[in-house]
Point group: C2
Chain length 255, copies 2
DNA sequence: AACCTAGTTCCACTATTTGGAACTTGCAAG
DNA sequence: CTTGCAAGTTCCAAATAGTGGAACTAGGTT
């Protein structure tokens, strides 16, 4: 994306490697990257012996380093809502018996920071850390609806409006209309806009100052629920987000 | 630690910020870092607008950026045993009803990659990503005991032999003696060596080639169990580690 | 109003990064 | 066996990007 000197390039490389969902060969990464061979090579060497990347000499592949995992652990504990929200999400999960997501915004994209799975117990990290587009998820819309106009504008400019299902918003205008309504209502619905058969109700997490810092959603399938029945969870959901908002100190995201 | 050009410094800065377990002021970080003010300042700016750090203008604090979380998610799927081991750990957890850890080695330190909590359901990521010393944990010793001599030597050179409890090994010799015995026995015990009241039984995960890539432990408290009763879990544990080892492709750690 | 201290900017100096090209490996086809 | 090709690695002079001392600004304190 941008080019902030060497460090910026290093970050780009990390991102590239992350983009392969498996360990990748040097050449694969080279092809996907804008850097000349020698440059990329040196960068990857540096990152490798910093522990940010891991190189397997036998398979000649690079993957993300464990040092990164350790740092991310710190990140999770520090800059995210997750640790504050955890007990509240536990309680909410127990109450509603559905899958719950906690999300934050990272430049126009929804980042899932934590979740509670209804029945099957684990897999937490597997979903946590995943990114979804803002315009087609309950949490995304809940966050957008409560952003300040300028932040909203910036976020929307980065939207691609990919049409995942027939219900997905495919332009800014229809989305904006819904956002206004969400703002009034206090909760957002995902009516199979991201995935066929999956619906959710979501509410923003607001700081005392009124700043949105994230959102919580209760998701279900069309088999078990409809948007109308999800409506029943609204009080519990709003209670949870309010409590998280109260407890959140405003170490939130920049810009 | 080491100095690999700008990127190395950037990593050091990230580590510094991570070391504070809360968002930190510029000056706090400055004091803890070897870099001059201007240099640190520029580095942190770069990292911030790369999303590796997050800056809160209101509180004037830095914390780890969400971009790291996203990358770590990739790391989890790529370079760790976790996705392969997940179903097997689930089964093991159900069988033994105790807390289970999955760990990998990162230059002399044990990194917890995944866990299953006996009773309380969640908190997964909270522990996942944490680092513990190798000489005083079941998983650590299980891994060390099956390393090749040269890797072992390198790993031990980085050990500090901190004495956490009266039972902790405080020198290489006593540790080596136990490692030999563990190698023979196939499992390692942690007899309150890291934390008073916590014991565990651990077994290494071996690749077909015989290379250790990690370890699994079953942990309990002295109230509920003793090393002797943990012994009863040995078959289930060995079965689990064997199965993980079979399925693991050798994208493992470098050097 | 004078005085700190945390945070930010400046800028000449220099060390680091750059990347084209040449070299090495390892394997596969002739 | 040797020729050819592709992946990976090293070189080095040119130039860019990083350095850090010092000077500046903001905002709070005595």
């Amino acid at each position: 994306m941008s080019a902030d000197g060497t460090v910026g390039k290093a970050c780009d490389v990390l991102e590239q490697v992350a983009a392969f969902k498996r360990p990748a060969r040097f050449n694969e990464i080279l092809e996907a990257s804008p850097f000349p061979k020698a440059t990329l090579y040196r960068l990857m060497q540096t990152l490798t012996n910093q522990g940010m990347l891991a190189y397997d000499p036998e398979a000649q592949t690079y993957s993300m380093g464990l040092r990164l995992v350790r740092m991310a652990h710190a990140a999770w504990g520090q800059s995210s809502l997750a640790p504050i929200a955890a007990p509240i999400l536990d309680k909410l999960a127990a109450e509603v018996g559905e899958t719950i997501h906690l999300a934050q915004m990272e430049n126009g994209q929804v980042l899932f920071v934590d979740k509670r799975r209804a029945s099957v117990l684990f897999e937490t990290l597997a979903q946590t850390g995943r990114v979804a587009p803002a315009h087609s998820t309950g949490v995304g819309k809940a966050i957008l609806a409560f952003m300040t106009p300028d932040r909203l504008e910036r976020a929307l400019r980065q939207q691609a409006f990919v049409k995942y299902t027939p219900n997905t918003h495919d332009n800014a205008d229809s989305l904006m209309a819904e956002l206004a309504q969400i703002h009034e209502d206090g909760v957002a619905f995902d009516r199979e806009e991201h995935e066929q058969g999956i619906i959710s109700i979501a509410a923003p997490i607001l700081l005392g100052s009124g700043k949105v810092v994230g959102a919580v959603s209760i998701a279900s399938t069309t088999n078990r629920n409809s948007p109308d029945t999800l409506q029943a969870f609204k009080p519990a959901l709003l209670d949870a987000t309010a409590r998280i908002g109260e407890q959140a100190t405003p170490w939130q995201f920049p810009t």
